[in-house]
């Protein structure tokens, strides 16, 4: 029963992805949406109930939100809409992390991903979006092949997951308090202290690298500024010279 649900979900999902990805035509998108909804329903029907009804309903809601917005992220034509749908994917993922009791990670996902990375990305989109919709956003690259490959890989994953789950032992009863903030901090700053310091160094190196990449071409605009506004360029060329 579960096998047929998963197989049907994979086939319909691959078709839905092919129809939904940008192909230069608008035809077939509503059929793709219908197929995708059926595929999502079949995939969720193959899952196991989680015990109490509210938990199962909440999990289905979060999973559907995450997967639907993920498909929207890769299938919308406008990159700004893609970024906004990705924000919804992040919120769904953070909800699933909260659902498992990983409070700090759920918060960190919202703050770092949705708060910092996504905003940086939207800034870059604003700076680097050509007028209107670019042709490369309206035409995907080998959509049928990629959808088939994705469905096949998901099939391999799900086969492994379901077959391993049949023989997996029931876990010992968990203490929910051991997932709160304090034990995680204690673990992080005792067992993984050097790794934390290295991660901080890596962040600093990435910051310096990003500044170096962007500041590489800063003096290019200097002659333009000096020809129009001499006083402003005299002031603004000083920090550029220091960067050089």
């Amino acid at each position: 029963m579960t096998t047929w649900l998963v197989v049907g979900s994979l086939v319909l999902g691959a078709g839905a992805l092919w129809l939904l990805l940008p192909r230069g035509r608008r035809a077939g998108r509503s059929l793709g949406t219908l197929l995708g909804t059926i595929a999502l329903g079949l995939l969720l029907a193959a899952l196991e109930p989680l015990g109490p009804g509210w938990a199962t309903a909440l999990f289905y809601l979060l999973a559907a939100m995450t997967l639907v917005s993920a498909v929207c992220t890769i299938s919308f034509r406008n990159p700004v809409y893609c970024a906004v749908w990705f924000g919804l994917t992040l919120l769904g993922t953070a909800g699933l992390l909260f659902f498992q009791g990983a409070q700090f990670l759920g918060t960190a996902t919202v703050i770092i991903y949705a708060g910092a990375i996504l905003v940086t990305l939207l800034f870059v989109l604003m700076l680097a979006n050509p007028r209107g919709q670019a042709s490369y956003d309206r035409r995907a690259w080998e959509a049928p092949l990629a959808a088939t490959v994705g469905a096949a890989l998901l099939g391999v994953f799900l086969t492994g997951i379901f077959s391993a789950w049949q023989v997996a032992p029931q876990p010992q009863s968990l203490d929910e308090k051991s997932y709160a903030l304090a034990p995680l901090g204690a673990e992080l700053f005792s067992k993984h202290l050097i790794a934390v310091e290295l991660a901080g160094t890596l962040l600093l190196a990435a910051l310096a690298g990003a500044v170096a990449v962007v500041a590489q071409h800063a003096p290019r605009n200097a002659p333009l500024a000096s020809s129009t506004q001499p006083t402003h360029s005299a002031r603004s060329s000083t920090p550029e010279a220091q960067v050089r």
Binding site: E48, A63, G150, L158, I161, L184, V213
Partner: protein
Amino acid sequence: MMDSKALLLNIQVVAAALVCIGLVGFLTRRNMIIMFLAVEMILQGVALSFVAWGRYHGSLGGQVMVLFVITVAACEAALAMALALMLFQRRGHLDTAACFALGEPDQVTQVAEEVLPQGEVEEPEPQPQWPHLPPAGRVPQRSPEQDAYRSHV
């Protein structure tokens, strides 16, 4: 009390689906920023899987691993955005299908012919309707360099 074993299965299924959707996005889309989004989506799926396994085994190792994944993703975002901005300033687009600077000059770029079809008519996307304002005041003076620099205005 939730069934921990069922929760492990459900989270793994959602994480696998997220990874595969991200993979399809990375393979098909040609905008560099959307490819970056797809990679981040794969990382999100892996993070879900790590936390679920950590919960199943009753250890905090999965969460610690995800924390470092988030750190690396932040570094990656900073560098990738800087590179995308540089690429756009040099070329005026973010199309990865048109970046063949690393190829030998005498080689035929077969991929470019394939993904940029010639002579095929595309349906035009509906353009947004902007409100039309009556002209007022005087036309501001702009230099040609400024026009080249700011294509929108």
